[in-house]
Amino acid sequence: MKSFTVLTGLAAPMDRSNVDTDLIIPKQFLKSINRSGFGPNAFDELRYLDKGEPGRDNSQRPLNPEFPLNFSRYQGASILVARENFGCGSSREHAPWALEEYGFRCVIAPSFADIFYNNCFKNGMLPLVLEEPLVAQIFAELYAQEGYSLTVDLERQVVIKPNGETLAFEVDAFRKHCLLNGFDDIGLTLQDAEQIKTYEAERRLSTPWLFGFAQH
C-alpha cells in the first residue's frame, strides 16, 4: 500500500450531501475482476453527458461542462472537499479505487459512512473529518480563490490552509500508523497468528457446531 505522510494539492468541490457509492462508481463498472481501471468512470453519471459502459473509450465521451471536476481550474486536484455522509451506500471498495485512480488521496468532509471510511485507509487514502462550519469555510474559500491548495500533514494531524491557518483533525492511532508506513495490515495481523490459534482452539470446544461446515 502507498504510504500517506504529507500531501499538498489542489482542492476540488463535491458540493452535495449523502454522496453515495453508486454515484462515485456506478454498478456496471463493478463487473471487472481487476483492482484498477475505475478512475475514468469515477462520478460517471455526473461527469459525462451520456451513459457509461465498461469497455468504452471514455476519452471520446461528451463531458458535462457543468460538473465542477470538469472545470479547468480543478484539473489535477488531489483533495476532494465534500459534504456530510460522504460514501454512503454499498460496501464497494471500487469507490475508493476509482477516487484514488482519479487522483484523490484525501477526501475532507464533515462525516463519512462507516464502510467507505474504512475502505479508504486500505488504499492509502485519508478520509478526513472536520466540523461542518470548517468545511463550509473551506468551500467558500475554494470557490473564491482559483488554485486553492491545502496541505494535509498526517503525522501532525493538521490541515494547513493557503493563509497559513491550521486545522487539527482526529484519526485512529492504528489507522494512522498503517497509513504513515504504508503497511499491509494482513501481514500485521498474521504476527498475532498464535493468539488467533489459541482463541480458535477455545472456540472449537465452546461452539463446536461452527466448525467443519464444508464437510456437510
Partner: protein, 473 residues
C-alpha cells in the same frame, strides 16, 4: 456495573485481542462470498502466496450478475449474455473450486441472494460474527448475530487471517412499541425509522431493534428490518434471540443437531441485552402510528406515508438540504405538493435481499390475487430470493397467482435492485420497488426508484400508481 447490551456480548465473545491503540482483533465465524466483491481479494491472496485460514468458514454463491429469465438461466453460466458478467461468475466458480470453498453455483437449488441463503440454510446462526463484501450483510443480525459488510481488502483480510481489525461501535437502541396496523409491514417500520433518524442517524453505531413490534415480528420481518440498518448508517443491526429465532433456526441444513443443538440453545438464550444495559443513543417510535411508506427522493430518508404529498424545498431552512431536495425532485420528475398517490408507476420490482422471502411473496400474492396488472405498467417482475423460496412459493401455488395477474415470475438473484444483470429501468421510468436504495441510477441510468413494501408494490402494479394498500380492494 451496568449490564451488557447484545452487541457488547457478541463483541466480547469474539475478541481475540485488544490493542493499546483502541483497535481490536475480532474473530469471524462465517464469511459469505459473492462474485462482485471477491475476485480482487482472491487475486490478492494468490499474489501474496497466502492460503485461506479456514475454508470451512466460507460459503459462496453468485447472485448479483445472474439472469432471472428462465431461458437464459437454463443454460447456467453460459446463459449470461454479458461477457463481463459471465467472467465474474466464472471467476467465483474457479476460485471456490481451487480452494475447496463450498459454493452454491448458479443453478444449485440452494443458490440465491447471499443475505437470503445465509439464514435459510443455517449457514448464518445466532451468536456468530458474520461478514460479507456487501453492505446488506447487516441482514443476518436478525438472528442475534453480529453481522456487517466489509470492503474487498477486508474480504482478503478475513480469508487470510479469519479476523478483522476493528474498533468497537457505539450502542444504539431503536425501540418500537405498540402494535402495527393491518397492511403495515416490517418494510414500513424500517423506512419510518430511517425517515426519523436519517441515513446517517446510525453512523458509528450497532443498532439493536427492540420493543413490542420486533418481539411480535416474524424472522422474515426482522431480516427485512436489519437489512436496512445500513440505510440508517449503521453497519450492523440486530434483534435479540427469542423463541421466534429458535423456531426459525431449528432443523435448517447447517444448524446444529442433537446434543450440539441443546448446547447452542443454552448459549443463544443469553443473546439479549441485560435489563440494566446502557445504550449510547435511544430512539423510540410508536408502532401504532406507522403507515405504509413510499420514498419520493434519492435517499432512503426521503420518505413519506402514503397519505403524504411531495415536499416543497422552499419550506426547508437548511441550504444544503434544500439543494438536495431540489435536485431530487428534478431527478425524480416530481412537483412540490403532488400527492404520493398521484405518482404513476411504469415498472414494479418485487424482490431483493430486503423483500424476497416467502412471506414477502405471500404478501404480494394476497394483494394481486384475482386482479390484473394495470395496462400502463410495462412490466412487473417477482424475483424470489433463493431457489428454496422459489420452490416453496411454487408449492403454495403463488406463481400461478402472479402469472394470472399479469406479473412475471423469475429465477432467484439480486436482479433489478441494482441492475447489474439485464433487469433494469429505462431513463425516466418510475418503479415501485421493494429493494433498499433509491439512489440516482441505482436501478438503471435515469431510473426513478420508489421504495415500498411488497404489498404496496403489488397494489401499485394493479392500480398503475401508488395506493394505500390498507384501503385497496
Amino acid at each position: 456495573m451496568a449490564g451488557k447490551t447484545l452487541y457488547d456480548k457478541l463483541w466480547q465473545a469474539h475478541l481475540v485481542s485488544q490493542r493499546d491503540d483502541g483497535s481490536a482483533l475480532i474473530y469471524i465465524d462465517r464469511h459469505i462470498v459473492h462474485e462482485v466483491t471477491s475476485p480482487q481479494a482472491f487475486e490478492g491472496l494468490r499474489l501474496a502466496g497466502r492460503k485461506p485460514w479456514r475454508v470451512d468458514s466460507v460459503v459462496a454463491t453468485p447472485d448479483h450478475n445472474v439472469p432471472t429469465t428462465h431461458n437464459e438461466r437454463a443454460s447456467g453460466v453460459a446463459g449470461i449474455e454479458d461477457p463481463i458478467s459471465r467472467i465474474q461468475v466464472q471467476t467465483l466458480d474457479e476460485n471456490c473450486d481451487e480452494l475447496g470453498i463450498l459454493e452454491f453455483k448458479i443453478n444449485d437449488p440452494r443458490q440465491g441472494i447471499v443475505h437470503v441463503i445465509g439464514p435459510e440454510s443455517g449457514a448464518c446462526l445466532p451468536g456468530m460474527t458474520i461478514v460479507c463484501g456487501d453492505s446488506h450483510t447487516s441482514t443476518n443480525g436478525a438472528l442475534g448475530a453480529l453481522s456487517f459488510g466489509i470492503g474487498t481488502s477486508e474480504v482478503e483480510h478475513v480469508l487470510a487471517t479469519q479476523c478483522l481489525v476493528a474498533k468497537k461501535m457505539g450502542n444504539m437502541l431503536v425501540k418500537v412499541d405498540g402494535t402495527l396496523g393491518a397492511g403495515v409491514t416490517p418494510k414500513d417500520v424500517v423506512l419510518a425509522i430511517i425517515g426519523t433518524i436519517g441515513t446517517a442517524g446510525g453512523t458509528g453505531y450497532a443498532i439493536e431493534f427492540g420493543g413490542d413490534v420486533f418481539r411480535a415480528m416474524s424472522m422474515e420481518g426482522r431480516l427485512t428490518v436489519c437489512n436496512m440498518a445500513i440505510e440508517a448508517g449503521a453497519r450492523a443491526g440486530m434483534v435479540a434471540v427469542d423463541e421466534t429465532t429458535l423456531d426459525y433456526v431449528r432443523g435448517r441444513d447447517y444448524a446444529p443437531k442433537a446434543e450440539q443443538w441443546d448446547m447452542a440453545v443454552a448459549q443463544w438464550r443469553q443473546l439479549h441485552s441485560d435489563a440494566d444495559a446502557v445504550f449510547d443513543r435511544v430512539v423510540e417510535l410508536d408502532g401504532s402510528a406507522i403507515a405504509p411508506q413510499v420514498t419520493w427522493g434519492n435517499s432512503p430518508e426521503m420518505v413519506l406515508p402514503i397519505s403524504g404529498s411531495v415536499p416543497d424545498p422552499a419550506q426547508e431552512a437548511d441550504v444544503v438540504k434544500q439543494t438536495g431536495m431540489t435536485r431530487a425532485l428534478q431527478y425524480m420528475g416530481l412537483t412540490p405538493g403532488q400527492p404520493i398517490t398521484s405518482i404513476r408507476v411504469d415498472r414494479v420490482f418485487i424482490g431483493s435481499c430486503t423483500n424476497s422471502r416467502i412471506e414477502d411473496m405471500r404478501a404480494a400474492a394476497a394483494v394481486v390475487q384475482g386482479k390484473t396488472k394495470a395496462a400502463s405498467v410495462k412490466e412487473a417482475i417477482v424475483v424470489p430470493g433463493s431457489g428454496q423460496v422459489k420452490a416453496q412459493a411454487e408449492a403454495e401455488g403463488l406463481h400461478h397467482i402472479f402469472l394470472a395477474a399479469g406479473l412475471e415470475w423469475r429465477e432467484p438473484g439480486c436482479s433489478m435492485c441494482l441492475a447489474m444483470n439485464a433487469d433494469r429501468l429505462e431513463a425516466g421510468e418510475h418503479c415501485a420497488s421493494t429493494s433498499n436504495r433509491n439512489f440516482e441510477g441505482r436501478q438503471g441510468y435515469g431510473g426513478r426508484t420508489h421504495l415500498v413494501s411488497p404489498a404496496m408494490a403489488a397494489a401499485a402494479a394493479i392500480a398503475g400508481h401508488f395506493v394505500d394498500v390498507r384501503t385497496f380492494n
